[in-house]
């Protein structure tokens, strides 16, 4: 087991390194860190800044320097606000993690619940309903869903709030906070809940018709035990894969959700940085997100390895 994990971690680091270099190169090509300074009245400042930031060096050298600083915790400063990227990132991550963690937990719970229920009660009316909703959930552009949700649930019905994560300048985690959380999490997760629930349903059905399950039933083991002890566990295995891989989609979806709901998280930060050409923020964002995705995949690999011994031994 240990070698498995170590092999995986090393491999992931390599991927991270290569990916980060490519992203770094791509970003540096597209954006100019000194573009904002061109508006300044002092015309020599652009040249000075280029020297100071080492922008005239070879790209590999630039990457090396950047990496050296990044490992020490210095991700540069935003060319827009002169704030350190690390503190911006910490703040943004705080908000984003709330959305992602709640989102992933709730989506997983809902998806498994709906999937298993639909599999058990195949062809019932709730099953049709869920299937229909899934199709629609997948087919709607998520931002459209978000906008409509705001209008219906936020403005017309007034059940939920939709500006940031707290009212006014509050910061407590209470009912108000929950009211703020519902719509953004729903928008973020509508697609993955729809897809995961369908996946889980199919997986469950697959497993329930497997030989060993039928054998157990034939032997008289009660249905409930069969489902929860055997079928569910095996049905979860492939779902874990899909869930881990879809996390990348979550980070992408954040950009929309945070914009619509005015939450200042990672998505918002990336978007603003992109609009203003804030290079250091964009680079840092790419790397941090890549790191997270790799971590999620690693995590899923390990869980998978635990759940399915065949994998560990290969």
């Amino acid at each position: 087991m240990l070698t498995f994990v170590i092999r995986r971690v090393l491999y992931s680091l390599l991927v991270l390194l290569v990916a980060s270099f490519l992203l770094f190169w791509f970003t540096r090509q597209t954006f100019d860190p000194t573009s904002r300074l061109r508006a300044s009245r002092d015309k020599t400042v652009v040249q000075r800044e280029r020297e100071r930031l080492g922008l005239n060096d070879n790209i590999v050298v630039q990457y090396g320097n950047w990496l050296k600083d990044a490992v020490k915790g210095d991700l540069g400063t935003s060319s827009r606000t002169n704030e350190e990227v690390t503190s911006m990132m910490r703040r943004a991550m705080g908000n984003t993690l709330q959305l992602i963690i709640w989102g992933a937990l709730i989506s997983a719970a809902l998806a498994i619940g709906i999937g298993v229920f639909s599999a058990i009660r195949q062809y019932s009316i709730p099953d049709y309903l869920f299937t229909g909703l899934s199709y629609i959930g997948i087919s709607m552009p998520p931002f459209w869903f978000g906008l409509l949700a705001i209008e219906v649930f936020g403005v017309q019905l007034g059940w939920f709030k939709f500006v940031g994560l707290h009212s006014g300048d509050g910061s407590s985690y209470d009912v108000d906070y929950l009211k703020h959380l519902v719509l953004p999490v729903a928008t973020l997760c509508v697609q993955i809940v729809a897809s995961w629930s369908r996946f889980e349903r199919a997986s469950m059905l697959d497993v329930m018709s497997a030989d060993y399950v039928r054998t157990a039933r034939a032997k008289g083991v009660p249905r409930r035990t069969v489902i929860f002890k055997h079928a569910l566990r095996n049905a979860l295995i492939p779902l874990v894969t899909v869930m881990a891989l879809d996390t990348a989609a979550l980070f992408g979806g954040l950009i929309i959700t945070e914009r619509i709901f005015s939450i200042s998280g990672m998505g918002r930060m990336f978007f603003d940085a992109l609009l203003t050409g804030d290079v250091y923020v964009v680079e840092a964002w790419m790397i941090v997100v890549a790191l997270f995705i790799i971590m999620f995949n690693l995590f899923a690999d390990v869980i998978y390895g635990i759940l399915d011994p065949r994998i560990r031994l290969s």
């Binding site: 552009p141 950009i255 992109l274």
Partner: protein
């Protein structure tokens, strides 16, 4: 990073838009890849497909949409971009079936022309990414060893950052035209097909008829194109259709963020993005473009499901 030979689940969906699976491709250990079917199985396929009414209707509606949109020049009641500043936005009426927008343009006309772009992007991206992915996946699966390793590492790289982010940057860099959108979406979307095809190829290549072909001296290219790929048609076709859906939705997301097509080019995504504020009045501006996307993607999904079932009757139901 997970690689195909270690997982018996579905690989990552195209560009983060999850697909709706109804059945799982059986694990490789069970040897469940579809048996190579002689061409006369076509009738069987056709019969299985037409039994799925949803898929047939989906396909029909899709075809109708393509015809109507690309025939806009003949069908549309008004000229494209025909402004009517005095009129301004109006609700659907007899003269304007879908109403007018802020500049008095007939929405039905605009939707039809916008549909050309959206559908074109969808189709082009799906075809391109499938072509690239199928080729690379087949090559990786067939030749194995280091070729396979290189390819798998490449796909891992592609999975590491959210596609939307790369897309947005690429659009800023290269300009916001439909060609760039198509190219970048295709460049990001091939990994999914590659993995699927590779998986299929891996299980087929050990079969006897392939051995026989090799023994008879057929070149690798010939083996791949004439014997192996035709048996992967199933997942390839299914992925193409699903890719259309993903591309259209992603394009609309990009437009919403402001990275979409530069005006005056319009797409449904663009129109939807522009209509953001119209919730309580002029709602027709908000609903119609969204509906078109919803309908198109729904049809594509139904069609894809039908095709998948038709190609592989062993997937249950």
């Amino acid at each position: 990073m997970r690689t195909e030979d270690e997982v018996s689940g579905l690989p990552a969906a195209p560009l983060g838009v999850p697909s709706i699976p109804d059945g799982l491709p059986p694990a490789p250990e069970l040897g469940g890849a579809p048996e190579p079917e002689p061409r006369s199985q076509w009738q069987l396929f056709r019969r299985r497909f037409f039994r799925h009414r949803a898929a047939v209707i989906g396909g029909g509606v899709l075809l109708f949409l393509y015809l109507v949109c690309f025939g806009a020049k003949f069908i549309a009641p008004y000229d494209k971009n025909h402004l009517n500043l005095l009129l301004g936005p109006t609700s659907p009426s007899k003269e304007h079936w879908m109403g007018t927008d802020e500049l008095g343009r007939d929405q039905l006309t605009e939707i039809l022309y916008a549909g050309q772009i959206s559908l074109k992007i969808g189709m082009a991206v799906a075809l391109m990414s499938t072509a690239i992915g199928a080729t690379l996946g087949a090559v990786a699966g067939y030749f194995g060893r280091w070729v396979d390793q290189v390819l798998m590492r490449m796909t891992d790289l592609f999975l590491v950052v959210p596609g939307i982010a790369i897309l947005a940057i690429a659009l800023k860099r290269f300009g916001q035209t439909d060609t760039i959108i198509i190219l970048v979406l295709a460049a990001l979307g091939w990994t999914y097909v590659a993995r699927v095809v590779r998986g299929q190829v891996l299980s087929i290549k050990e079969k006897e008829f392939v051995e026989a072909a090799r023994a008879a001296g057929a070149s690798s290219t010939r083996i791949i194109t004439r014997h192996i790929l035709p048996n992967c048609i199933g997942p390839i076709v299914v992925n193409t259709t699903l890719g259309i859906a993903a591309a259209i939705v992603t394009e609309s997301t990009l437009s919403f963020l402001g990275f979409g097509l530069q005006k005056p080019a319009t797409s449904w995504g663009n129109m939807l993005a522009d209509s953001e504020g119209y919730y309580s009045h002029n709602t027709h501006l908000l609903y119609f473009p969204g509906l078109m996307i919803l309908i198109t993607v729904l049809c594509v999904n139904f069609l894809g499901d039908g095709l998948r079932d038709a190609f592989d009757p062993q997937s249950h139901h």
